[in-house]
């Protein structure tokens, strides 16, 4: 079938769909076969690999699921690397000009709801909860939290005006034209947000390592940056 002529199979989180599409195009333009990309929530990707899905590369939206895969020997640990990082942003449903700090905006939002990805399950939500806790805001707001299915759904709730504030990835905030006053959370309060990638244990494709290298190479980094991802510098 057409799969023979295709590049390696890459499983990636839904939030990277557009970005990885651009990277794949760049890769193709360099004369390679186009990689096969499949996007879903990270947990679904992990379980697919656990069940022997014929994938070559997996990218997670957090380190936890990559650890989970590593514990089960489903990835080649030596190929594991971080592709990019991200930041959290606070966004508002209303366009009113607001120069106040994040803490002030959150505190003064009255009874307004605050949309996040579900902290119980989605990495972005966990990061948001941690940030609010680190800033001493969690107790104030925890009854007004609206956990959504994922970051994108949280953003939609703000866009629809159902939530007055939302905490989403910086990449999502900058892409939406119907939320306002995007303000980046200070990195010191936010756990490290990274997208690790690795080769899977049953990878067969000859170009797997080459594409993995391309994913963490300069051309890809340029695309990540353009899409609003922060470039990741390994901690010393």
């Amino acid at each position: 079938g057409p799969r023979e002529a295709a590049g390696p199979v890459v499983l990636a989180p839904s939030s990277m769909q557009e970005t990885l599409g651009l990277v794949a195009m760049e890769w193709e333009q360099q004369g390679h076969a186009s990689p096969v990309l499949s996007f879903a929530a990270t947990n679904a990707l992990a379980r697919q690999i656990e069940q022997g899905a014929p994938a070559d590369i997996v990218i997670c939206a957090d380190q936890e699921w990559m650890d989970w895969l590593a514990q089960r020997d489903l990835i080649l640990a030596e190929t594991r690397r971080v592709l990019a990082g991200n930041a959290l942003a606070l966004v508002s449903a209303t366009p009113a000009k607001d120069d106040r700090s994040i803490a002030a905006r959150v505190r003064s939002s009255g009874n307004g709801r605050i949309a996040l990805a579900d902290p119980a399950s989605v990495p972005a939500g966990r990061y948001a909860q941690a940030a609010l806790e680190n800033m001493g805001l969690w107790a104030d707001v925890k009854d007004r939290i609206v956990p959504a299915e994922n970051v994108r759904a949280a953003l939609t709730l703000v866009e629809a005006g159902e939530a007055s504030l939302g905490i989403v990835y910086a990449t999502d905030a900058s892409a939406s034209r119907r939320v306002y006053n995007a303000q980046i959370f200070d990195f010191q309060y936010v756990p490290e947000i990274v997208y690790p990638a690795a080769q899977t244990g049953n990878s067969r494709h000859v170009e797997t390592l080459a594409f993995l290298a391309f994913l963490s190479g300069p051309e890809a980094h340029a695309i990540y940056a353009k899409q609003g991802f922060s470039l990741y510098e390994p901690a010393p």
Partner: protein, 231 residues
């Protein structure tokens, strides 16, 4: 299997949401089923298609449409809030609405099938015995379509118990308010190492639906008696 209070709360909420969804949808679905089965009017096909929509669209799209229509800024949601002070988003009633919308096409289809199977000559007989069209409907068509009503209610209840996408999009995943069984299971699935909790919740779902199934079979059998011809 001993359940934690949190699990009991989730079960209670799920049952509350599903029962409300089925109860409210039952007469509406029957009305649609009757219209489509027995009346010929312009737009009948469109109504039929509109009812099937929640089946064809991905559930999150249905949830998103509900948000647009029934959200506080939506045309219907705004009116509901101003007129009755009713807010659906982020409330368990909203979860029930999402479940109801998803269950509607299944219920309508089953009921319609049963209404179409009712012999109209019996309705004629009822009329000559003095029954108005409404009385004939209530005493003949309605009871004779009980199998479809039961099947529809059962399908609708099961679908409501399992509804995920539209609910999480429209009503979000708020513990104690809109976190029904499927949402709790989904949350569990997203967390590494919570396989045990997920399995327990899934087993609870299965037991609940088994119970509902047995109840609906029993109800139909009771209402039917030994009515059928055997030879």
């Amino acid at each position: 299997m001993i359940l934690s209070p949190a699990e009991w709360a989730i079960i209670g909420l799920s049952l509350k949401v599903s029962f409300l969804a089925v109860l409210v949808t039952l007469p509406i679905a029957y009305g649609f089923a009757w219209l489509i089965a027995r009346r010929r009017f312009p737009g009948r096909m469109l109504l039929d298609a509109a009812i099937h929509l929640p089946l064809v669209l991905p559930p999150v799209v249905t949830g998103w449409l509900l948000l647009v229509l029934l959200g506080r800024n939506g045309p219907i949601g705004g009116w509901l809030e101003q007129t009755f002070g009713v807010v659906l988003v982020f409330r368990w009633t909203g979860a029930a609405v999402a479940a109801a919308v998803m269950a509607l096409p299944l219920m309508v289809r089953a009921m319609r099938l049963s209404i179409e199977a009712v012999d109209r000559r019996l309705v004629g007989a009822a009329r000559t015995l003095g029954a108005s069209p409404l009385h004939a409907f209530l005493t003949i068509t309605l009871p004779l379509s009980v199998p479809g009503i039961a099947a529809g209610a059962m399908l609708g209840f099961a679908r409501s118990l399992g509804e995920f996408g539209a609910t999480i999009t429209f009503a979000a995943n708020i513990e104690g308010e809109t976190r029904t069984l499927p949402l709790a299971i989904y949350s569990g699935l997203q967390t590494p190492g919570s396989q045990g909790a997920v399995t327990r919740l899934a087993i609870i779902s299965i037991i609940l639906s088994l119970g509902a199934l047995m109840m609906s079979e029993w109800l139909v059998r009771r209402s039917q008696g030994s009515r059928a011809h055997v030879l």
